[in-house]
């Protein structure tokens, strides 16, 4: 492997409200995002792990990128603690109200700016879960895309990335030319724990770079006015009444479970 072949691996990571603390406003049906602390979108742990593992095999560096308000830097710290070399925060009032189109445009421009060879995204976010951002990044930059990837095999000398993809009824192995955007399937690898010293560094000393819409040259293409999605309306679904029972011991519990599953 030559030094030239070292890859720049960009990982877009999203901050989402901690699902444990999120509430839904019963009046408007929208998420009370502000109540809940922002955490790293769970599938993005798999994306970071996949990126770090690519770096170990192909060489190069991993750069995490997030688009969000200033406090979104917390998820960049998480990525750096896990092992990302560096991170960039895309933050600007102009981004406010952006849907998946401008979000993926901003991320695409940032990936281009960073000279990315590979972009590794999570499968989808836990708060909006459109899954549109990774293909969006590929489309904006005219790069290849590998969605629902379960395994990655780097071939830096050939400027290729091979992925095992989950398709209906089985798997397929696909090779794509770099630069390429990956959407890594949720739960398909085991994210590592952050090292102690790395975590201290990430939380105390590390400062991400900050880029504005203007830095990316897209001030006129982002924000609410440039978001084609229109939300028609929202409804809350009433939770299904669940039967509750208290049992005395494990045996009784096991009996109940057998009973209930036998009914199906």
């Amino acid at each position: 492997m030559t030094v030239d072949a070292d890859w720049t691996i960009v990982v877009p990571v999203k901050q989402v409200p901690d699902a444990d603390d999120v509430t839904i406003d019963p009046e408007t049906g929208t998420l009370n995002r502000s109540d809940a602390p922002a955490v790293l979108n769970a599938p993005d742990y798999n994306a970071v792990e996949a990126a770090l593992s690519l770096r170990e095999r192909a060489g190069g560096e991993v750069v995490a990128v997030t688009m969000g308000p200033p406090f979104a830097r917390a998820v960049l710290e998480t990525a750096v603690a896990l092992g990302a070399d560096d991170a960039v925060l895309l933050t600007d009032r102009a981004f406010g109200g952006s849907d998946t189109w401008p979000t993926s445009l901003a991320l695409a421009r940032a990936a281009d700016e960073l000279d990315a060879d590979v972009v590794v995204c999570g499968e989808e976010s836990t708060d909006s879960s459109t899954g549109q951002v990774p293909p969006g990044i590929a489309a904006h930059n005219g790069w290849a895309q590998l969605t629902y990837a379960e395994e990655l095999e780097p071939r830096p000398d050939d400027d290729e990335l091979v992925a095992v993809r989950d398709v209906e009824g089985g798997h397929e192995r696909v090779a794509a030319e770099t630069p390429v955007v990956v959407a890594f399937e949720y739960g398909e690898n085991e994210p590592r724990a952050a090292g102690l010293h790395r975590k201290i560094y990430a939380e105390t000393e590390f400062e991400p770079e900050e880029w504005s819409a203007e830095d990316l040259g897209i001030s006129e293409q982002v924000g609410l006015v440039n978001s084609p999605t229109k939300v028609g309306g929202m409804d809350t679904a009433d939770p299904v009444e669940r039967e509750q029972a208290v049992v005395d011991d494990v045996d009784a519990l096991s009996d109940r479970i057998t009973e209930v599953t036998a009914d199906d």
Partner: protein
Amino acid sequence: METPDYDNEFDAIVVGAGLAGSAAALAMANQDLDVLVLERGQSPGTKNVFGGVLYTPTVRELVDIDDAPLERYVAEKRYGVLTETDETAVTMRPGEWLEEPHNDSYTVLRGSFDEWFAEQAVDAGATLLTETTVTGLVREPGGGAAEGRVVGVETDRPDGTIRAPVVVVAEGANSLVSEGAGLRDHHDREDVAVAAKEVLKFDRETIEQRFRLNGDQGVAYNYFGEGAVGDAVGGGFIYTNKRTVSVGVAYSIEDAVASDQNPEETLNDFKQHPAVAPLVRGGRTVEYSAHAIPEGGIDAVPDLVSDGALLAGDAAGLVLNNGVHLEGTNMAVESGYQAGRAVAAAVDGDDGSVDDRALATYPEELADSFVVQNLQHYDFFQELAVEDREFLFSELPRALADAETEYFAVDRDPKEAHAEAAKDRLLDAAGGYVGAAKRAWKYRKLLS
């Protein structure tokens, strides 16, 4: 990727961001020490089980508690003695408790309070790392200690060892780190109580009506006798929070092991006692937990400083738990604070050298404080309680109930006859005038 090495970048490491740990971190950060606090929970307080009334004299010394997440101040205390069917209780509502600082007694939910308290330490300059469990202490030969000096900690993270001149261990009652490192012996069974607690959800109004409360007022009820925890040595408690009520039992682990009831069953019985049931009826259980409480008194307190490591709070067994008092929070904060001050005086921030004489002021200061004084003062009670358990937890409550029934009996006999019979019943239980005098002497310190 170049990862900086933080070995000896911090002046001290604190194990555990509970009350003792955060107080220690605050005291050190206030003296410009670089402190690293390691907490295994996702955030401080998430792993904490607690009754509880937080006693705040030392907390107030360290921080401004005006914006602390306090639930209610204790406006009423009750001590109830229960047989299986009766209650005899003393209720107190001194007017002074209604005035600030409310006798420094507040109910809190530790999940929010501990998080806030740790934040105060971080604001003062400490570094807090959560989801990081300390698995052991690092020792190095030398420093005059046979097993070597404590020079850092090991954690459950990759690349997980970090060094610092001093380590303060404030890991609470389940003191695996200090035991593993030989800083203390395993808690003896007779020196530990087991506690089971439930948090029940109500609306504010129900709580305020049921317990006769205005605004931020709250109650702390303590119960003992066989109606509280059967024939075990211990008691039950009820504390009001804003929208929840904490109800629980705490009793000697030895009794728990000997009994055919588990703590959850004991708690259920307590909740069904005729004097208790109406207070907790209709609440939805939002939390159930069990935890240990050290209750070995002063004799079970290990060396507080050894080989460059300090113990504080429950990890050092600094809890007063004798039936009348269940106080660990104030001792945890005070001991953490004193430990932190000693470390600040001992560590040279420039070269990392440690002055062991300055560290040794920690146990000295603590010996002069209410922490050790109270433990010593009430030390006699724990032993007596075990010795006299039959009398204290079963005969006395029954005699009291019988005597009251007798004294207040409404029938066609003259009142005097009832008063006489009531007196006889009490004297009988106490062993006559001589017995009563002896008991009074034996227990005099409980109220002095």
